[in-house]
């Protein structure tokens, strides 16, 4: 591989940021400031060396973006030299992710959510007010720039905003007293939710003084209820304390797993009837069994924590409120599938979840619960967190692999399936956060006791993310089989309910006269809708549905990776048609509805992955079930 770079050189800060991640460059071949005589007598690099380090590309891009706020040509050159990556490819990766920028911009970027739940709770007014105070989105003011953002996963406190400030990592200066403000910008993030324009301007001016976020438990209205299973620790234990975790039954499931052996663990999970909670509802035990049986190695475990479905925030609450549970569950899953390395692919917009998980991983390592000899059982396992960088598509299981490997986060075509060829081309089990956490009660109480909750084919409990026009939005845990009405009664439904969006942007709408639909996989399927990832977005009649549909179409158009034609162009045509009929009904809308049906059918049939295949679901259900343009 003969790589060619431009003449642009990195600044000291950019060089430091990359070298802090990768260590000092060993020679001039890898981007050391000077080439020594010795460098001229040997050559290195080549395709093999490049392949080994390619997975550091996204972390390196993050490192520069976190330090400077954007990635210059010189910084990109330096990263490419360090990792033996072609600059065109690195540019292609950097421009794929919305949190990264290859154009100069201020160090402070304010992301204001305008997605479904926030739109239903007045984000448009916040944006209008903000435009008056700070100027139009995308124009720098006060050393910051604000932009509209897809769902930030803070729907229970909508409307929400997230401020990210580039600078030095506070951890770099940790041994010293608190960094002096004069020392320059310090990397930080601030969540402002519920957001108001004046509050956002204050946060922009002094991000470090922004009000502290409420604890994760604030998102769990049922907190403290003894009937809770997955949420039982949230609000009752300190998420930063491993001792708290252990004193409330933590790590008994892992001990039990070691007694059962890997095959025994898989048998329990199969018997419990656990199916994936990420939306596809695939039997977890079968996935683990198929991975464990592969002769090729090593095996990998990937936790899908890229929760980006508009209206979904349950995984964030779990990770922020009970991080050790995920660490323990992943250790059990890794043991079952024969993996020595696990990855948490965490969405980039969750700084607090990152901090909590990182803390939990370090705690577990110190106490021998991760590392070369877990619990003295001779099993070596460790977990690494990989941050996404703003791409909904990276929640697709094969797009995660590409993203971790340092490629553009485009989905791969299946077959081959991940259990056969997944991360780094090796057998991989991919599970969602909620799915993994379910493994703990299965092992603590036994498969039979677990399966006694719920219905025959939907066993256990389910987390629901209730947002929109309800009195008590938040994450609710209910046994499978409860009806939508029961769930809404807990959350306090609006007086004049217009519709409920079930399953998120890829899901479907339910009418107020359909609230008795049982919340199970089979029940929602029979009713022609889906549970998806557990989104329950409640809309009253103050909401203009055509605008919500437009927002859904805009979301899919924005988030399409662009790889296949039905999705890349189809999502654009869908949005155009919805724009044309936004204020029309009846015959005036009929032609465009027919057009959308045709395009929608082709997207569903011919797209490579679930994004394109589901991009028409919610709009179709709004037309057919709610009669929105009638």
């Amino acid at each position: 591989m003969d790589l060619r770079y431009t003449d642009a050189v990195p600044t000291d800060a950019e060089r430091e940021a990359v070298d802090a991640l990768l260590g000092p460059p060993p020679s001039g071949w890898e981007g050391a400031a000077e080439r020594t005589d010795k460098d001229l007598r040997w050559a290195r690099g080549g395709a093999a060396a490049a392949k080994d380090r390619r997975d550091q590309l996204l972390p390196a891009l993050h490192a520069v973006n976190d330090r400077v706020g954007w990635i210059s040509e010189g910084a990109l050159n330096h990263i490419c030299r360090r990792l033996t990556v072609a600059p065109a490819e690195a540019y292609g990766v950097a421009t794929f992710y919305s949190l990264l920028s290859v154009r100069p911009r201020p160090a402070k970027v304010l992301h204001v959510c305008t997605d479904l739940a926030c739109a239903a709770r007045g984000s448009a007014a916040v944006c209008a007010d903000l435009t008056e105070r700070l100027g139009a989105p995308g124009t720098p003011a006060e050393g910051a720039v604000w932009q509209e953002s897809p769902c930030l996963g803070l729907c229970e406190r909508a409307p929400a905003a997230l401020l990210l400030q580039a600078g030095t990592d506070p951890a770099d200066t940790a041994p010293l007293p608190p960094p002096a403000p004069a020392a320059g910008p310090v990397r930080c993030s601030a969540v402002v939710a519920p957001a108001t324009a004046p509050g956002l301007v204050t946060a922009v001016r002094a991000p470090l003084e922004a009000p502290v976020e409420p604890p994760a438990a604030a998102a769990v209205p049922q907190a403290g209820d003894p009937a809770l299973v997955l949420l039982r620790r949230i609000g009752t234990v300190d998420p930063a304390s491993l001792d708290d975790y252990r004193s409330t039954g933590g790590y008994t499931a892992l001990r039990h797993a070691f007694k059962l052996g890997p095959a025994g663990v898989i048998r329990e999970v199969l018997d419990a009837g656990l199916v994936g909670r990420g939306g596809a509802a695939f039997p977890t035990g079968r996935k683990w069994q198929a991975t464990a049986q592969q002769a090729d190695g090593p095996h990998y475990l990937v936790c899908n924590a890229d929760e980006s479905e508009p209206g979904t925030f349950k995984d964030r609450v779990l990770m922020e409120g009970d991080p050790y549970a995920l660490v323990e569950a992943m250790t059990i899953a890794g043991y079952a599938v024969g993996a020595r390395q696990g990855y948490i692919y965490l969405r980039g917009e969750y700084p607090r979840a990152y901090e909590r998980l990182d803390h939990a991983l370090r705690g577990a390592r110190t106490r021998g619960l991760l590392g070369p000899d877990v619990l003295g059982q001779g099993y070596a396992f460790d977990i690494e967190i990989r941050r996404g960088a703003g791409a909904y598509i990276c929640g697709e299981e094969t797009a995660i692999f590409n993203s971790i490997e340092g490629q553009r986060g485009e989905p791969r075509s299946k077959p081959p399936f991940p259990v056969e060829k997944g991360l780094f081309g090796k057998p991989t089990a991919v599970n969602n956060v909620e799915t993994l956490v379910n493994v703990l009660p299965i092992l603590e109480r036994g498969a039979v006791a677990y399966a006694a909750t719920g219905t025959e084919t939907s066993t256990g409990t389910k987390l629901f993310c209730v947002s929109g026009q309800v009195d008590r939005p938040g994450v609710y845990e209910l046994p499978f089989g409860a009806s939508l009405r029961e769930l809404l009664d807990l959350a306090g439904p609006p007086e004049r309910l217009r519709a409920v969006l079930l399953g998120g942007a890829a899901g479907g709408f339910v009418r107020p006269d359909e609230l008795d639909v049982p919340l199970t996989f089979e029940g929602t399927r029979a009713a022609g809708t889906t549970l998806g990832s557990g989104v329950v977005l409640v809309l009253d009649d103050s909401v203009e549905l055509p605008r919500i549909l437009l927002r859904i179409a805009e979301f899919f158009r924005d988030e399409s990776c662009g790889q296949c034609v039905p999705c890349r162009v189809g999502t654009v045509r869908q949005e155009e048609a919805l724009h044309r009929i936004v204020d029309r009904t009846g015959a005036a809308a009929a032609q465009d509805i027919a057009l959308m049906r045709e395009v929608g059918q082709a997207m569903r049939d011919a797209s490579i992955c679930g994004l394109g295949q589901t991009a028409w679901n919610a709009v179709e259900s709004a037309i057919d079930r709610l009669g929105v343009y009638r």
């Binding site: 395709a47 072609a86 490819e89 292609g92 553009r408 399409s560 990776c561 296949c564 034609v565 162009v569």
Partner: protein, 286 residues
Amino acid sequence: MTAVPLQPPRRLVTFTLDGEETRVPEGSTILDACRSAGRDVPTLCQGDTLTPKNACRVCVVEVEGARTLAPACSRRAEPGMTVRTDTERARHSRKVVLELLASSTDLSTTPRAAEWIEEYEAEPDRFGTDAARVDEQPKVDNDLYVRDYDKCILCYKCVDACGEQWQNTFAIAVSGRGFDARISTEHDAALPDSACVFCGNCIEVCPTGALSFSSEFGMRAAGTWDETAQTRTTTVCAYCGVGCNVTLHVQDNEIVKVTSPHDNPVTHGNLCIKGRFGFQHVQNRD
């Protein structure tokens, strides 16, 4: 004629193609089976020398029991599979995909596009006059070839040919995403400032004419490009001792472009800058 080395024998897979029992060597794709059975399935992004990327989705077929349609170019035939290539569902998707492509890009130089648009009764105009288009101006930044991304359907073939599948130069990649995704050099630099080595292998694989010789681009602009008046002569490149085959395309006694036979077991259609672009001396008549 080019010598084609024999492949090791492969087991046969039996499956049903459009109601007929079909046997193909193990590892064959559904498209291979269709072609050997003489059935026409439209393809745009599929290339005979590259691993299919299955990005365009015009070759989709119906596989019994599958929730979605499958791309014939990359789905391998499996024993017992039942495939239908010409169902209403498959035809509908092909029609819409052709409409989506033709309404957003310029397919005027894409071989067979017009024929398929007619066959599938596609109406690209029905998305209205305001339908978003790629809308790119041709990039003319060197004397050898032109990039006209208004004609690009993002099939990834040039990226694969420039990258690890053939050339290992990695001068271009896909940047951006969604409808804004484009084939691009690093920081969108001009080709002479990029890593490009001007082998022209990307032009060789481009299925739409988005990449073309400057000679062809100029003649098309002048209205003098006439493929029916061209002769093709395959000969051996005289620049070095490797002996690559070059096919000279000649119109009015002038070489207008150079390609290379894809079935050549040494080059598979690939050339270097000299074989591809170094033909001026042949017609230097001073």
